[in-house]
Amino acid sequence: MNYLTRQELAAWLDRLAQEQTLIAPLDIAGNILYRPVADTHEVVWNFVRSFMSVKEVFFPRTERLMLIEKIGADVKLTETLPDEKSIIFGVRPCDARGLLTLDALFIDNEPIDPYYAKRRENTTLIGLACQSLGPSCFCTNVGGAPDDPAGMDIMLTASGDGYVAEIITEKGEKISKRFPVFDGLSEIRPHPSPARKHGLKIAPKEFWPAKFNDDFWAEMAERCLSCRICAYVCPSCRCFDVRDEALPGGDGQSQSERVRCWDSCNGIPYRRVAGGHNPRFMKNQRLRNRFYCKFYYFPIHYGPVSCTGCGRCIDACPVNVDITEVLGYVGRR
């Protein structure tokens, strides 16, 4: 078993930050966000959950897919795959689970998305077990746990004045070799955690089709603003849009970039085609689609349920649309 004091942990991270990009939780205007840091000077060690998930490191809000250069009648495309190596410190179990969910879509489901896959390959995750659940957390109800090491390369659990470190993968072992205190790959302990919201669980797949035409969705949608914040804070929502953006060019060369950016199925134009037809023009159709995607469509297409119980959507929603209320409703016979 590896044990590090806070000072040792900070010293190790500082050393890693010299070699790779270190991304760690910072307090930015009252919100915890994962950002690149030069050292651990301003890192937040105690927090419940970040405002945005680590998803944005792997699947950025907006990312360049390629550079497009028009040179006379010719067009030159330059693929812009990310190659930066980085380490994220302080990853919460719900976010690591979100990445496993996105892996099922972007990597396990052919064809591989090279942008996401490269970032996953080049990034090492240092997990930090949650000391307590936040008011909206419900990971234990959807198969996760506050100390679940799934998806982590190294898992840290605060203990006394320091941290117990479990080295889980070879990637984790590689960065631990840079510090004498680690003694190699650990055995992963079982992490039993009690369910918190009593009785709440994911409604099984067969429950969903029968509830599709229920009035519940319209009632729920009455207060929905279609603002899309639920999808943006979600560690496993992945809808995206692709378009070209102009870049300043010169010498008769016109430059642009093809970008992809986050989108959400709650947005009004999401399904609208150029001719104007929109099969999901009603708010309840869009709100319903998001929940069906998470618990019915996504598992059918890619395997895992697309919800990690982080509760961010519950906190972020300006009108209290609550995903646990949906699970409670659909789970009822």
Partner: protein, 283 residues
């Protein structure tokens, strides 16, 4: 161009416009000669498959490929209606300009399963574009298919697509072409009215027959109703190709789902029996 060209599903192949012509009001037929890797990628696609066409600097959108592969000609046809930002920009391009093409994508029509059957192709407006490869397949392999009926419609005569090919279609053995428009002009000497009315008049027999429909969703819905309720077809006999907004074409972006199906990889071709079992309506 790098070796990653073939492994990155978001990276388009380059193609050169070798012909651009107006075929109807605000509709142009673009003929794209595929360059480098694109020629191999598109050497053997199926009727009903689609591709993303890029207007570089604006973006890309999916379009049904409007022709069949011709022995190594590396040329793709796209009939494109000027409607949104990408199509508006494409309409500004001319011969010699470069576009991007990603694909081929989707399942396509099972033309082999249609062999030995009577075929009824029903196209509305720009919905005729993905049906042209079906017509071309039948014409190129005429003895493989039985009686062939084409029902072709548009809101107005000026919106009918592929008009300069009608004589060739009509001249094909055992082939009928029926035309209708919602609103006629002084030169029009064919039917006037909705395609459902024309369909009732032509009244094809459901015996050993397959229908293939593309058009606006509301047309697809009512064409299927006439076929099933009035002419005795089973929904399994009625093939349709559906449209959806999409941004990847490879089952990632989440955009095109219709209930549990993804139009980009599970479709765009479905039978109305399949469409009927979906949780969500395409309308």
């Amino acid at each position: 161009m790098t070796d990653n060209m073939n492994t990155n599903p978001m990276l388009p192949y380059l193609g050169k416009l070798v012909d651009v012509k107006d075929i109807a009001t605000e509709i142009k037929l673009f003929r794209v000669e595929m360059l480098n890797g694109g020629a191999e990628a598109f050497h053997d696609y199926k009727p009903g498959q689609f591709a993303f066409v890029s207007s570089f600097g604006v973006g890309e959108a999916p379009f049904g490929i409007a022709n069949i592969p011709k022995n190594g000609a590396n040329v793709l046809d796209f009939a494109i209606n000027r409607l949104g930002s990408v199509t508006t920009d494409l309409h500004e391009l001319g011969v010699g300009d470069m576009v991007g093409v990603r694909g081929p994508m989707g399942n396509g029509f099972p033309m082999d399963e249609f062999k030995g059957k009577n075929l009824i192709v029903i196209g509305g407006g720009i919905g005729g574009a993905p049906l042209r490869p079906v017509i071309q397949t039948v014409m190129a392999n005429r003895s493989d298919y039985k009686y062939f009926q084409i029902l072709w419609a548009a809101r107005h005569p000026s919106l009918l697509v592929f008009t300069d090919e009608y004589d060739e279609w009509r001249a094909t053995a055992d082939t009928e072409l029926h035309l209708t428009v919602d609103q006629a002009d002084s030169t029009w000497n064919h039917s006037v009215g909705l395609i459902t009315q024309l369909l009732e008049q032509v009244a094809p027999s459901p015996r050993n027959a397959i229908t293939i429909t593309c058009g606006p969703p509301i047309m697809i819905h009512f064409v299927n109703r006439v076929l099933v309720d009035k002419l005795g077809f089973q929904p399994e006999q009625n093939y349709v190709t559906l449209e959806a907004r999409m941004h990847c074409g490879v089952g990632k972006c989440g955009r095109c789902n219709l209930g549990t199906k993804l139009i980009c990889v599970d479709g765009p071709v479905f039978t109305m029996a399949e469409v009927g079992t979906l949780l969500e309506s395409f309308l």
